[in-house]
Symmetry: C2
Subunit: 606 residues, 2 copies
């Protein structure tokens, strides 16, 4: 039944050879890998305004230069990552680039921050998606957490079905969203230009308004940088592209940069022109769109596609997280199970893990985007910094053709990313950034311990094929019995087919019963010695473990096998009607170095 | 660690021979076995007044004749049960008496109703105890459910420690309660007699007040009968008494009847004289006591001892339920585990079961005594009726010395109990009595099915010692391997010590790996055939089950043993770092008729 359900939800298993077919063309890679970056639009502008509006309406103008600065940073990042794509066609996430060039420790920092970042992408995106829905339909406002969790589960299920299918499903919403936002920006700007009542005179303030400190401006800038999260996804996933992989990936990255820059500039400009102030119950994007179209069809189209792309943005992480986890697992920094491909050729364990972690975050932060952002961007910019720094070192060491300008570009990227990181850590420390600062070292420690464990195990298990031979030994078979019946006959028959000394063992609670069993055993006479013990405390486990210990000391290096007869009942509830001594004994002997426990089944006919 | 904790909570195990020492003298048996009956005082009067007060204050006088009728019924029951004690010195609960004399089906009805009754005793008593506490300390009123559940757990723990110790602990509160209530009644009646302001003229109404129908009067009577619950406990537990058991038990029963009758009469009379009307937040007993003493020390003494005896009343069921369950388990109507004595010689499984069932009831009914009572008394009076009817038949069949008056007494008891049962079922049907009417047949069906199962198993397992011999057969050993390493060497060594054909089996996910394993195997050359399979779907379980199925068809009646190597890690968390294929394989092969699964341990050094 379980496997039928699994088939229904996940689809039928795919062969390993089908892996190659799972490669993506640009038109499909763009929506899948950039939905995270593009969807950041729906909260980027809002995060800037949230900080500025604390001071007052006069400071809202500063959202424009901040937006410009962020777009500048975006351009820098796009070109820096483009260089990574060509240098790391095998998928150069910050983890690979930094461990490759700066050593495994730096790699682990990048790995930890990326795993956190992926998880937060899921949490932030579905929460923002739920917010987009509740802006359009206020009745849902109370249930944002539930809606967000529900969407995580949906996206997880789609991903467990495998990438290709997900691709087709996920392509449409991204394109629909791009059409919607571009339409919104054009319509909005056109209407501002033509309608006299709406026209605004952009007045450049010559001094900082009262209360607007540099600290606040930097905080607004760093909050707005949340719009850049996700631009690294494409360079991480280079091997998912069709041939020629690097070219297609780099072209996709450029398209993404162009789209994101234009759309971000447009929405920030419209928000300023419309004098929009963030509200608790309605997103800034919803306000812009309602102001442009009224609550008509285009408004609901934009809210709908925003929600869709946000929910599906989580998908970026559902490809990124499992891939990174599998790479780290192959490097023995994460448990082996993350490197195993599931039925549908995806890394199902990673998919399930990121879903669970995101759901926990959503529940803790009650689906509030503003409270999740401080945790979010620190990991992102930490990995940006490490990837760029790794590239700087790479150019320096390899000194390939025209390495100097390339080094300069990556160095600039690294410096700016690091500055943003510092701004973030300082301005958002008390609001949640401290959690990430605390968690990353813990993760690194864990990765390190896992690697150590695997290495020592590998050393321990290595075998010298020429000199180490199997060493057969004699052995002793212990047969605990609970009386003399068909089950015992079955077990004794089995024991006699093995080559060893057999001893049956009976624990009785009073002398009469023991006497009776001994007499019956003699009568039956199966040619096996019976040892009986009186348990004054009515415990079976203690006398049995004592007896096995005794056998161990006498066995002198021989193997010891304990045969446990086990009832197999026809109906599941019948199990409660039998004392499950077999389970108890197996539990007792679990982890005993020299003892093999064998369960001999006895199928009840009724 | 678990066993240390168990020792601390439960105490050290007792020997089976110590069972005899656990016998009770009267002074200890009285408080243990009669706390249920005596504690019913705290809600008996209240239940009568709750029904009468629905009509108005004028009808409260009727509580006096109703009390008188209930005391009459009590006398009848005491003498009827006295006869049972002498006829069934081995502990004659309704279950034994009725199955002995009226057949097993009637016995099962009695068994079902008694088990329900015991569980409800626990639920009702601790709920009433929580009510007594919250009457004295109103701040606790909101937490009655929690308090009740807490007390069930305490009583369970005390019982798991064993009867004798419980006896000493439980003796004091009952005596303190008796002293308290007797003192209250004497002080109260004395003050009414001496203080002119308090003196009441008892006016006997000559007609029924408007609204007070015969139906309501009967309902009040049946509600008040809840004060009689628990009188059967002594006759059920005759074997717990010191020698001579029957004499001591019968004397204890008479003392109980006398005490209960006087105290019930006294409190009902005081309630009437004080014009007390039931309140939601304060029990009737608390009102009587507050009216007599004011909120001074004697008041808190009475509330405290009432709470204590009520909570400990639950103890009656913690001896009764497990004893009945063990008797029914010996008769094969309940799972065998209820017949097993625990470390401290008590039937620990029964103790745990009744505690869990009571907690569930308390949570469902939110610790409300009034709502639990309708479920309660129906089981009690059903078992009264069956026990008395059984006795009637016994006298009729055996016709011992002076049997006729004894038969008449039991017949009267049966008739009256049956009438109360009918009144109860009719007047309380919609308030919860229907649940019990529904549950009893379900229980009987379950008992019957369990008995059938045990009988058929016993037939199936019986062995003919003279003609049925163990039949040793050849066997095949299957050895799934995941590579060639020390673990495999260990397992192969073990396999070669058994006498059988060995075949190793490897599942690979691609051809190169398989080739590599095959070459390495040849190099190692352990004299065992290796079968490899390519799993295109990266599943280990499917090829393995297919292979084992193949071996089965070729084995032609030979035993098949599957050897599973199992890592034993040094630290628990290391387990997550290894694919637990062993667990998976054991799960897959679980319940396969002819396959013995043996786990060969490999202890990791690090």
């Amino acid at each position: 039944m379980f496997s039928t359900l699994k088939r229904l939800l996940i689809g039928k298993p795919l062969r390993t050879e089908q892996l190659k077919e799972e490669k993506l063309p640009i038109w499909k890679a763009l929506p899948i890998l950039s939905s995270d970056a593009l969807s950041s639009l729906s909260y980027g502008t809002e995060q800037i305004l949230l900080v500025l509006s604390m001071v007052g309406a006069a400071s809202l103008w500063y959202s424009l230069p901040i937006t410009a600065a962020i777009i500048g940073l975006l351009t820098l990042l796009i070109f820096s990552y483009r260089q990574i794509i060509f240098q790391y066609p095998g998928g150069g996430g910050a983890y690979i680039v930094s461990s490759d060039n700066l050593g495994w420790f730096t790699g682990l920092i990048a790995g930890a921050s990326l795993l956190i970042d992926y998880t937060l992408t899921v949490a932030v995106s579905v929460s923002a998606g739920a917010a987009a829905i509740s802006s359009a339909i206020p009745a849902f406002h109370k249930h944002v957490t539930l809606i967000a969790v529900f969407f995580v589960i949906i996206v997880m299920a789609l991903n467990l079905r495998g990438m290709r299918e997900s691709g087709t499903i996920f392509a449409f919403p991204t394109y629909l969203f791009i059409i919607g936002i571009v339409g919104l920006v054009i319509t909005g700007l056109f209407s501002v230009a033509t309608h006299v009542t709406d026209r605004q005179i952009v007045q450049i303030p010559t001094y900082l308004p009262t209360g607007l400190t540099w600290f606040l401006l930097l905080r607004a800038f760093s909050s707005g940088c949340s719009a850049l999260t996700g631009v690294e996804a494409i360079s991480n996933a280079t091997p998912s592209f069709q041939q020629p992989e690097t070219k297609k990936a780099s072209r996709t990255l450029l398209i993404l940069g162009l789209l994101l820059g234009c759309m971000f500039a447009g929405t920030s400009l419209l928000a300023y022109l419309y004098h929009i102030v963030p509200r608790d119950t309605e997103t800034v994007l919803s306000q812009i769109s309602a102001h442009t179209f009224g609550r008509t069809f285009p408004y609901f189209y934009i809210q709908g596609t925003t929600a869709l792309i946000l929910i599906l943005a989580a998908n970026t992480s559902f490809s990124g997280f499992p891939l990174l986890a599998s790479i780290m697992a192959r490097d023995k920094f994460m448990p082996r199970m993350f490197a195993v491909r599931g039925d549908r050729l995806n890394f199902s364990n990673g998919i399930i893990l990121v879903a669970i972690a995101a759901i926990v975050l959503i529940l803790i932060f009650k689906g509030n985007v503003e409270r999740l952002i401080p945790l979010y961007a620190i990991g992102v910019f930490l990995s940006f910094t490490l990837a760029q720094s790794g590239m700087v070192r790479r150019w320096w060491v390899h000194r390939e053709h025209s390495w100097l300008p390339k080094l300069a570009l990556n160095a600039l990227g690294a410096a700016v990313s690091f500055s943003v990181l510092l701004i973030f850590a300082i301005t958002k420390f008390s609001e949640g950034a401290w959690i990430v600062v605390l968690v990353i070292p813990c993760f690194i420690f864990l990765f390190y311990k896992i690697r150590r464990h695997y290495e020592s195990i590998a050393n321990e298990l290595r075998i010298d094929c020429n000199n180490e031979r199997p060493e057969p030994k004699d052995h002793v078979i212990v047969l605990p019995i609970g009386g003399i019946n068909q089950v015992v006959k079955n077990t004794v028959s089995y024991a006699q087919s093995l080559d060893g000394d057999i001893v049956a063992f009976y624990v009785g609670f009073d002398k009469e019963t023991i006497k009776k069993v001994e007499t019956k055993w003699e009568m039956w006479n199966p040619d096996i010695r019976l040892v009986t013990t009186l348990s004054r405390y009515r415990s079976i486990s203690q006398p049995l473990t004592r007896f096995i210990h005794l056998v161990e000391t006498h066995a002198k290096g021989r193997h010891i096998t304990v045969l446990i007869p086990e009832f197999i009942t026809r109906k599941w509830w019948h199990r409660f009607l039998h004392n499950q001594t077999a389970i108890l004994i197996r539990f007792l002997l679990r982890g005993r170095k020299n003892i093999v426990v064998a369960t001999v089944p006895y199928l009840l006919r009724k």
